[in-house]
Symmetry: C2
Subunit: 222 residues, 2 copies
Amino acid sequence: MDVSLLGGTGDIGEALALRWARDTDHAVVVGSRDAERARERVADYEDELAAHGAAGDLSGCGNEEAAARGDVAVCAVPAYHLADTVERVADALGPDDILVSPAVGMKHDEAGAHYNPPAAGSVTALAARAAPDGVAVVGAFHSLPAGPLSDLDASFEADTPVVGDDDAAVETVAGLAEDVEGLRARRAGGLDNASEVESLAPLLINIGEHDDDCHDVRVQFG
Amino acid sequence: MDVSLLGGTGDIGEALALRWARDTDHAVVVGSRDAERARERVADYEDELAAHGAAGDLSGCGNEEAAARGDVAVCAVPAYHLADTVERVADALGPDDILVSPAVGMKHDEAGAHYNPPAAGSVTALAARAAPDGVAVVGAFHSLPAGPLSDLDASFEADTPVVGDDDAAVETVAGLAEDVEGLRARRAGGLDNASEVESLAPLLINIGEHDDDCHDVRVQFG
């Protein structure tokens, strides 16, 4: 499978790129607004993999090309860039493609991190509005701490809730999640349930901030 | 310590009463609007404990008396009864008492369960508004599945996030949580962070509904 990471030069993009490159045979396409920057980061990722005796099928390009190449395109950009990014690559997304949204709208105050959804109700719903008709949109990978996930020396055990209205697309993305060693998908229903999934991200930040036993907090459901 | 459960005749009240009675030496006071009903339920709880070779210090009474007797009063009533219940027992709560709010406002539609906070921002914040001045309010025990928690044959492993502005009260309630075998407290900051904690409850319901591997879902943070 070809998996693209739009904005794959950021923290969570790096983490997913490294894990998919190491743990799967998927072609991992790292996209950026700046294609040269994407190629530079891919060289870094390849060095990091080589330092761990691993390799993968990685390449870098602009976001539009990445969207065109990916069977699944993960929009790994901050929430406030999401709609713009999706609209810019819309022509490259075909009806068999899956768009994955891991972004969360948050605001921070003295108390901690708070869920701050857009008017659409959730960032995942915003992605669904911005996506071309027929493209299946799935919410996943919202609450993963990028630090431990990008540290190939660390073992990683976490669950990621997955939401979407297209069952086949949800299963494809759940499979992609579970291709990463230690990562487990948990189905949480349709896109209308995305806000409960996204709300988990600030909770994990708050626990990481206030609980002495938890840092880079991850979650498991049993 | 004396722990009271206002509305302790319901599902989550039963579960906490059974576990505290079995696992601790605390005096567990089960309150109800109907004192006779509370006493009947306590007899049921004692039978259930005896059937498992256990016993505890349990008693039943009206909510007002329960609030007066408890060093910690857990308001185990549905969210829409919370403010009423707190206001009715307000005279019985002293400045050294701790009021614990485990309730979550939810609405349900075809997609699933959704967080539906009151105008105060969270049910825990609503409890804080309804409580007399000086009573410390702590949010905890929001996302515990009552079924497995009240099944004394089942082992139980789960985390419960705890929020509150009074650090000593938070530690007292965290300790009460961890008095239950298998239950672990996770500090999530002050009352302003309660909505992120409460949002977890509908997420767990949605995962229980949609994920074939998860039922009576509980959560752990690591």
